[in-house]
Amino acid sequence: MIAALRYEWTRFWTVRSTYIMLGLALLLSAALSFLIVQATQSAGPDQGGPPPGTIDWFTSFSAPMTFAAVLASVLGAQAIGQEYRFGLIRLTLTEFPNRISIVVAKTVMVIMAGVLIALVSYLGSWIGLALHGHPTPPAGVTVPDSTFFGRGIVFVVLWALSSFALAGITRQTAIGIAVPIVSGLIVENVLIGFFSEKATWLVEHLPWSSASRWAGNSDFVQGPSGWSGLAVFAVWVALFFIVELVLFMRRDA
């Protein structure tokens, strides 16, 4: 198991895309955070905007999480999709014929990648705030606590795992990346538009919009509720993962 982890660790850190995704997480989060502060301060309370600082601080950290999730999903999908694309899966499984060990090692690395991307994204958000002159929260502003940051990390990790599982099922990196984006940002929104009143149960059980509902609403920012969205997404990810695992164990490499 340790050998498989070392193998995956080396695989992860010896391709350019890892560094590109981490760099993008930093830059995009910094830019988005900066722009959010800029926009909310421009609006101000006189124009119906929030009190100075309050929303800026939370949104600056939470809004980039969707970008972070997409970037983490690239690394998640690549963890298995690129192995099939370049035939490396045959080298990998020759060295690790006990396939379960490589699945576990890859899962650990995808989780680590998700955590890393989320942390780098938070760092980027802080840089954006600092560049705007708010390296520390203004007086009287509620500071995001560890639960807030933890939930963001879980959101990114689960998104990355969903991409990992989908890429494993289809043996395609592109599908692992595209399905969560297309489904979460387009298809599910259309379904919600059609069925929000007719079939509430359906809307409440869509995977990525449930995750976004959990991550994006005020509950995510300020309260402990919203866990049903997380639970729905986690069950979906677990289902994808089980299908991937079964196929991975049974298929030809």
């Binding site: 050998a3 660790w9 350019r16 370049f86 045959r90 014929p97 030809d252």
Partner: protein, 308 residues
Amino acid sequence: MSVEAIGLGKSYGSTRAVDDLTFRLEPGVVTGFLGPNGAGKSTTMRLMLGLDKGDGQTLWDGKKLTEHKPVSKVVGAHLDAKFFHPSRSARNHLKMLAQEASIPSSRIDEVISLVGLQDVAKKAPGGFSLGMGQRLGLAGALLAQPKVMLLDEPANGLDPQSIQWLRDFLRHYASQGNVVFVSSHLLSEMQLMADHLIVIAKGKMVANDSLAAFVARSSGNDILVRCSDPAKLAAAMASVGVHCVPEGADGLAVQLANTDWIGDAAFKYGITVYELTKRTASLEDAFLELTSGDQQFQLGSSAPEVTS
């Protein structure tokens, strides 16, 4: 270390790609694996490694591969010249493969030098030629100094010097008590490299023999006799059940006979012998004879039709 493949089988839909193959690979021997395109050679190798799911099993010193640790010290496999990430440097590719057996960096540098990739070790292999890709694949297979080397068409794309190096290297590797199992379409190379042959066609075993015995079975092993009266000599041969085929104006190709016996017979019948040459079939002759009609994908005529 010996390797025993038992009842290997694999179907793709209704096509039986590999059908009940059983063979044993011995240490100290280079075993060549031959077969026409689509015969099932690559599938067999993948089945041996557990990469493809099928029937049968392969035992490595009596145990399944999953029971060995580290696996890369048991078997080093090179299945394709393009199995690498195009942007991961050659050295990092090997560094990744080295993790399973905790192989030190010094060994990575050693195999890089051995296969002659030291000048491009830090470059991304995306732009490598086929030959360079083969070298990188070989380096990966060699890395942990495995007891078994399993190589699928390793000479493809290599220049003549590299092919010669590969042949000498594999023979030396086998002579150290290791198992070398190698498939190739370069039959002239295989003739120089292999001690033993396993030949399959349409997924079935058609020969499992030493190279010498395999070639000796070919009808291409005969004796050319040029003489003053070939018809008379042919009749003399036929009278004792020896088959002759006319060849040229004054020649006969005689099978299953020896030169002394033919010389004596010619002398007895007063026939002047101009030439008496023992001809040995090549591996290519023997292989083509054995597998004719067993090609999965039959070729057309090599002489194109000319229309006026």
